[in-house]
């Protein structure tokens, strides 16, 4: 039976077998790389406004995330959508799952003239409340 100790006694000197550690470390690195990439994709490079109050994220329901960039481009759950199609799309999603929370991730420097039409379309689709996503200011 082969020696399974982490200290190898073969040869002249004892050596630590680092292979398991490297395996674990590599898996952790790949994990962080993937999570970071997914987070970047989802946030779509939107710079959020700061707030000192608010509620922290709860994972009870998978929310619908509406992104608004500074130039007025709209995304739903990270996928770009034409402004003309937004109302119909969000109405369909809200009708299918009325209890799903809707979060607005708007660029902090976007003018309210860009954000307001999106809110009005949400309201017209039957959405009575939204969550504005902000970055926590400690």
């Amino acid at each position: 039976m082969r020696n399974r100790s982490i200290i190898s006694n073969e040869g002249s000197g004892a050596r630590i077998n680092v292979t398991p550690m490297i395996d674990v470390v590599m898996v952790l690195i790949v994990f962080y790389l993937l999570v970071g990439q997914l987070a970047i994709d989802r946030k779509a490079a939107i710079e959020l406004p700061m707030s000192s109050t608010g509620t922290e994220e709860t994972q009870d329901l998978d929310p619908i995330i509406v992104g608004i960039t500074a130039d007025g481009s709209i995304t739903i759950n990270g996928e770009a959508i034409e402004n003309e199609r937004f109302a119909g799309e969000i109405k369909g999603m809200h009708t299918r799952n009325p209890s799903t929370p809707i979060r607005i991730r708007a660029h902090r420097l976007a003018s309210f003239g860009v954000v307001r039409p999106v809110m009005h379309q949400l309201r017209d689709a039957g959405v009575s409340a939204v969550e504005l996503v902000t970055e926590h200011r400690p």
């Binding site: 040869g11 002249s12 000197g13 050596r15 680092v18 550690m21 490297i22 470390v25 590599m26 952790l28 690195i29 962080y32 790389l33 999570v35 970071g36 987070a39 959020l48 406004p49 700061m50 707030s51 000192s52 109050t53 608010g54 509620t55 922290e56 994220e57 608004i68 979060r103 708007a106 660029h107 902090r108 420097l109 976007a110 003018s111 309210f112 003239g113 860009v114 954000v115 307001r116 809110m119 949400l122 309201r123 959405v127 009575s128 409340a129 939204v130 969550e131 504005l132 996503v133 902000t134 970055e135 926590h136």
Partner: protein
């Protein structure tokens, strides 16, 4: 013929990546160093990245005096109008005179929370006001447990 001895295998030549202590195999120490540094970098960057918070806002329907819709805002309500004047963001509707956003934010934050929690702040803003300014006013209202509606 039977005297022929089997040839002994020649020992491998040592290269730079091999240890010089008589053992074969690459020196893993630099790779372990680098991978641990990368791991710490990712862990640190993940923890430094700011947490996201959520401010709840109601989206009330526009209501006329005669109309009573399914979703209506109860009173009492403060209506704040944000607009830009002389490159400053002003707020009309809270207090007697229009004041700067910073002054209104300070006033709201100094309100008694017990009284403020029964109020609704309805925010309206002109097109040129930044979303960040609307959120700043919303943040101040939420800090004293005031509910917020955005029109």
């Amino acid at each position: 013929m039977s005297d022929v001895q089997p040839r002994k295998p020649k020992p491998l030549n040592h290269r730079n990546v091999l240890t010089q202590s008589g053992r074969f195999g690459p020196n893993m120490t630099p790779m372990v160093d680098v991978t641990l540094v990368i791991l710490i970098f990712f862990m640190a960057s993940a923890s430094i990245a700011g947490h996201e918070w959520f401010l709840s806002a109601q989206l009330p329907k526009e209501q006329t005096e005669q109309e009573s819709s399914g979703f209506s805002l109860p009173t009492p309500m403060l209506i704040a109008d944000l607009y830009i004047e002389q490159e400053r963001i002003m707020v009309r509707g809270i207090g007697d005179e229009p004041r700067t956003l910073e002054a209104v934010v300070l006033q709201i934050r100094s309100m008694n929370e017990d009284r403020a929690s029964g109020l609704i702040l309805s925010i309206r803003a002109s097109d040129d006001v930044s979303y960040e300014s609307v959120v700043a006013l919303h943040d101040a209202a939420a800090s004293v447990s005031m509910r917020v509606a955005i029109r």
